[in-house]
Subunit: 319 residues, 2 copies
């Protein structure tokens, strides 16, 4: 059987995940690769993708002729209709037509979308949000990504700039966010937000297991998991604070949109079991109109690291 495989990529600022899906949507080969961190403007966007896809074909043993399509999620503002990366914060891509060179090289269709949007799409098509019509997704990592499925379609707003749910402003006089505003959800509840809290508490002389774990303004999820397990007071406070603001943001977006389901994903959510979800659930009702709260589910994402890969698959399958 020809053209039975789909190659899907999750392109991050520091690593690329790849998967080859067979016609039954099973992953038959996986790749994980570190990328050069951003700023190398000489780096050619299609070279990265081409080399990774070439490597996946070679290592998996499939033939080029067996590839049906290639698809990717990447950070930034992406015109997924045209296959153009308009802007990417961590990658040296500006108004870059990435579709044409990839399609030319491999002779198959190539799709690309914003990684968080694509991740929510994956959870909607193959994960916890399957079958719902209106989905709100938060992906908590170093930053805070957001994605929306509205009326049964991925919603990306004007000029593909939505949905920056991590930049809803919760504390107008609060901590500075990377985006230049103050008190965004990202500045309060992401790893960066939690890192600020750790640094503040450490500078006040408090002891915490998170001291020494902070590298480049963030930390590893498993370090936090360990600190929580050992009831580290500062780590617990940081998570309580992150969940407090996630609960407020969740309540506001539930009232504003009346979605069917809100989901939380990302390494830190996943590695902590239901710690985040339970804290959010304990508080969120305070910020939801009861009549709207009654008809919305609030759950953790189900696909873990694979949500972007499955979302990329869905971009192929649903075309």
């Amino acid at each position: 059987m020809a053209a039975e495989y789909n190659i899907c990529l999750d392109i991050g600022g520091t690593k690329i995940l790849g998967a080859i899906f067979d016609s039954k949507k099973k992953i038959i080969y996986r790749l994980k690769k570190k990328t050069k961190s951003g700023g190398d403007s000489a780096q050619n966007v299609e070279e990265v993708i081409i080399s990774v896809v070439d490597e996946m074909i070679k290592e998996s043993g499939i033939k080029k002729s067996q590839i049906n399509a290639i698809s990717a999620g990447a950070p930034g503002v992406i015109d997924s209709d045209a296959g153009i990366v308009l802007f990417s914060p961590n990658l040296p891509w500006r108004n870059y037509d990435i579709r044409t060179p990839i399609e030319k090289k491999f002779g198959v269709p190539f799709y690309i979308g914003n990684d968080v949007n694509v991740g929510v799409l994956g959870e909607w098509k193959y994960g916890v949000a399957k079958g719902y019509k209106n989905v709100v997704g938060y992906f908590v990592g170093t930053g805070m990504g957001g994605g929306l499925i509205l009326d049964g379609k991925m919603f990306t707003g004007n000029k593909f700039k939505g949905a920056e749910l991590g930049h809803m402003v919760l504390e107008p006089e609060g901590p500075l966010c990377g985006c230049g505003q103050r008190g965004c959800l990202e500045a309060l509840s992401s790893k960066k937000g939690m890192t600020s809290y750790f640094q503040q508490q450490i500078s006040r002389g408090r002891k915490t297991m998170m001291d020494g774990q902070i590298v480049n303004g963030t930390f590893k999820s498993k370090a936090l998991k360990k600190a929580l397990a050992e009831k580290d007071a500062v780590a617990t406070e940081a998570v309580d604070r992150a969940c407090h603001y996630l609960a407020i943001a969740t309540g506001s977006i539930i009232n504003a949109i009346s979605p069917d389901i809100v989901i939380y994903g990302g390494g830190i959510i996943e590695s902590s079991g239901d710690v985040f979800l339970e804290k959010i659930l304990a508080e969120v009702d305070r910020y939801c109109m009861p009549s709207i709260r009654d008809t919305v589910e609030i759950k953790n994402a189900a696909l873990g690291d694979d949500s972007v890969l499955y979302g990329a698959l869905s971009m192929i399958v649903d075309k």
Copy 2:
């Protein structure tokens, strides 16, 4: 020519506005009528509409056979696909099939939707938001209504409960809102929110022209207009505060959705010229991601009291 007229209604808790549109979408007859205020559970929903429509036909001199369709906006949660009022805060309607009796009585199609959603629809089809694809609308009155046009369609979320933009939570420890939460936009920036501010300042012994203007927890827009014109300090502070929170809410929803345009309507916005808009514009950039702010317009609604009537017309015309 038969069936050339459309009858459109804006059904409020205290008054009904009606208009007869001709085939050129001109209003040829208007009606304004006080309704009994809510709570009279014996009051029959279709009786209200039927009597108003009957009166409009009689007074305008058109014939029943010249009516093409009837359409209405009303407060509450409304299944506009089925023509069922699921819940209405100020009207004694619960899971009420209103379409069937009206269509039976007049023999023409009847459409109904939530008044704020329908008002935003009117501004989108015939007003300031014409031609845009993603529209966010705030209607500031006694309460604070919200409406969304997303991807070129009215968006009402799960079970028709969206879009309660007035109940995004901005101050979790702030003033109590009618919905039971604290610090909703409505509790801060609507007439009810401003009224709380006036009452607080009056109880502190401050003098204001708004003293004596407050009836049933609200006030008339023209009283505020006059106080602003005479540079009443407390009135100015209340508007500054209302616009401060409107700016934060607007920034958050702009970041979350990336709309093409945000519009403000409602009596108090309209009667104050550009006072609200200018104050919001002076502050909103602080709460918007610059890259998203670049592609969104922020304007006042254009149709005044007629936005719901035009939205109701659009429900007929676009069917």
